[in-house]
């Protein structure tokens, strides 16, 4: 049954990937001609035709699509139209930096948002609760570029504690990770709070209290396992965003990540690079979703049983 579940999920993941790749391929190719941007305005038609032929853009769409796929299946993501490097190499050059920044930001959000959300829920209505929630509103309504610049002004320019741009050391990581993580920490705190409040008012929490369980035990052994299901769902959605959506933060801090590469590649219609990045982001999302699904089954026995009966929602 576990195998069947995994098979169905993998099949669905493969289908998603196919749809993403196809959609990206078609949209990129019907939205404009790369030669318009990559070649100078006064390039002659002969030059344009030469490059179109070189890049295979003169062939019918279905033909391009098929050769793209046959290359993909051998691990060839194509060549950057702009600098003739393999697209995958360019992406993999940036990916570790993005992973580092996104991972640190995620860790920071969890370390801040989760405990604050739990505390606010446990003491709901208290001044602590109100303080956390008010701060959270500031946290996620502050635009990243603004927070980033504010941090640079304070910690780089004024106090001269931390570097403002680049990615050479751990010190370089602090400001961008904080910038990227703050909004999510705030969202996570609010979300954790409401998920926990929902659970804390359930009759089984009264039962746990009637057993004489301590407050810590009630929170961690009884409430949190129930509240974790919606929290993990949000986390799963967020991971993709942290991988691909850090453009603004990367730009402010000159962080050499995927987000900036993507924006640049889109701007110059560098087809192979855009495709490679989008495939990577889609694969991350699909894999995260798979993990979240597995977590549901592990954390919530009701899902597990539904699954064995084949009626999973």
């Amino acid at each position: 049954m576990m195998l069947q579940f995994l098979a169905i999920k993998s099949l669905r993941a493969a289908l998603t990937m196919w749809l993403v790749i196809t959609f990206v391929f078609i949209v990129l190719r019907i939205s404009g001609d790369p030669t318009d941007i990559l070649l100078p305005d006064d390039a002659s038609d002969a030059v344009r035709d030469f490059y179109r032929a070189k890049w295979g853009l003169d062939r019918p769409l279905w033909d391009q699509y098929l050769s793209y796929w046959s290359a993909l299946l051998t691990g060839d993501f194509g060549i950057s139209l702009r600098n003739n490097l393999p697209a995958w190499e360019m992406v993999m050059d940036r990916a570790p930096k993005t992973l580092l920044l996104g991972g640190t930001a995620l860790g920071f959000s969890l370390a801040i948002g989760l405990p604050l959300g739990i505390l606010a829920a446990w003491w709901r209505g208290s001044s602590l609760d109100r303080a956390v929630m008010t701060t959270a509103v500031f946290g996620f309504s502050m635009p990243n570029f603004f927070l980033g610049i504010l941090l640079i002004l304070t910690f780089s320019l004024h106090l001269r504690w931390l570097p403002s741009s680049g990615s050479d050391s751990a010190a370089h990581l602090i400001l961008p990770a904080f910038t990227l993580g703050t909004a999510f920490a705030a969202q996570l705190a609010r979300f954790t709070r409401s998920a926990m409040i929902d659970v804390l008012t359930k009759p089984y929490m009264t039962t746990a209290k009637s057993k004489g369980a301590s407050e810590a035990r009630r929170v961690f052994a009884h409430a949190l396992p129930n509240a974790s299901v919606p929290i993990v769902t949000i986390l799963g959605l967020k991971v993709g965003e942290l991988i691909g959506g850090a453009v603004v933060t990367e730009t402010v801090f000159a962080w050499p990540g995927l987000g900036r590469l993507l924006v640049h590649a889109v701007a110059v219609r560098d087809l192979a690079v855009v495709q490679a990045i989008l495939i990577l982001i889609a694969a991350t999302m699909v894999a995260t979703n798979l993990l979240v699904d597995l977590y549901y089954g592990w954390a919530d026995p009701r899902v597990r049983v539904g699954r064995t009966k084949g009626v999973r929602a």
Partner: protein, 349 residues
Amino acid sequence: MGCGWPVLAAPRPFALNPGPAMPLIDVQDMDVTIRRRDGTPVQPVRGVALCVDAGETLALVGESGCGKSLTCLAIAGLLPRRAVAQGRVVMQDTDLLALPRRAARLLRRALIASVFQDATNALNPVRPIGWQVAEAIRLRRSVTRNEAGAEAVRLLGRVGLPEPERRAKEYPHQFSGGMNQRAMIALAIAGRPHLLIADEATTALDVTIQAQILDLIADLQAELGMGMIFVTHDLGIVAQAADRAAVMYAGRIVETAPVAALFATPRHPYTRGLLQALPRVDHDGRPLSTIDGIVPPPDRMPPGCAFAPRCSRVGAGCDAAVPLSQKIPGASPPRFLACHRPVPVSEEV
């Protein structure tokens, strides 16, 4: 005995017995105050006094919203944060309401267990049944995880769960309501409580399951010598399961008496009204009567006796002062009544 009703109960095997003169639990003049969201306090439970002896069952009876459940939650220390209990809840010479929070939790953990109405929702959906029972054991006794697990399986078998070994690994959603209530009872008796509070424990169940659960509770009570507070609005269950009954109306206990005496000669007009609303085989052909009106909400209590606006015997003075609960002279075992114009003893129900 402290509460005045001779009970044939097995003596407790271990010595925490408060002695023959002292009830197991003695609740004196207890109020429950709830602070509403707009800040105004309401008192849905007022001046409640009751006591229970070891091995005895006290039924707490009344319409919905009369404060039965809040009384139980206050005794068990399970009130929501916005609610506060004042007064005295004495067990083993200690006033539970006067203790610091942690000390009160530990003493209650050793003495009191509760069974709730909706067992399926009162059990944690993401924990196996056996885990939940074992946790209750481990919280009250120092045993290893394995010992607690084995004891949990034994308890689940004791409360009549078939195949306890396998069932212990299952989850509440895989159980029927009756099976969950059995598991809930196993969880409650896991710590060998001195006092078991059953709050509408059989209300949500089918009649046949209800009878089985009542039998089970009675068995366990005899076996463990527990005192019990049994909340119900079903007078049929009171007659079957309780030694004494306390009738609550609008947050106060209006009459307390041994069950037989209460059914034979109800002295409070409200008690009489409840009994007359009960179908009986020996009053063939007589229409059932009802008590007109509804229980007044706690923030709109009439002056004087709260039952006066609905009372058939209402007269001068009923709206002047809240009637105090007083011992009925000469009644043995003792009865208590809070009424300005009680039903005469001679009047037939």
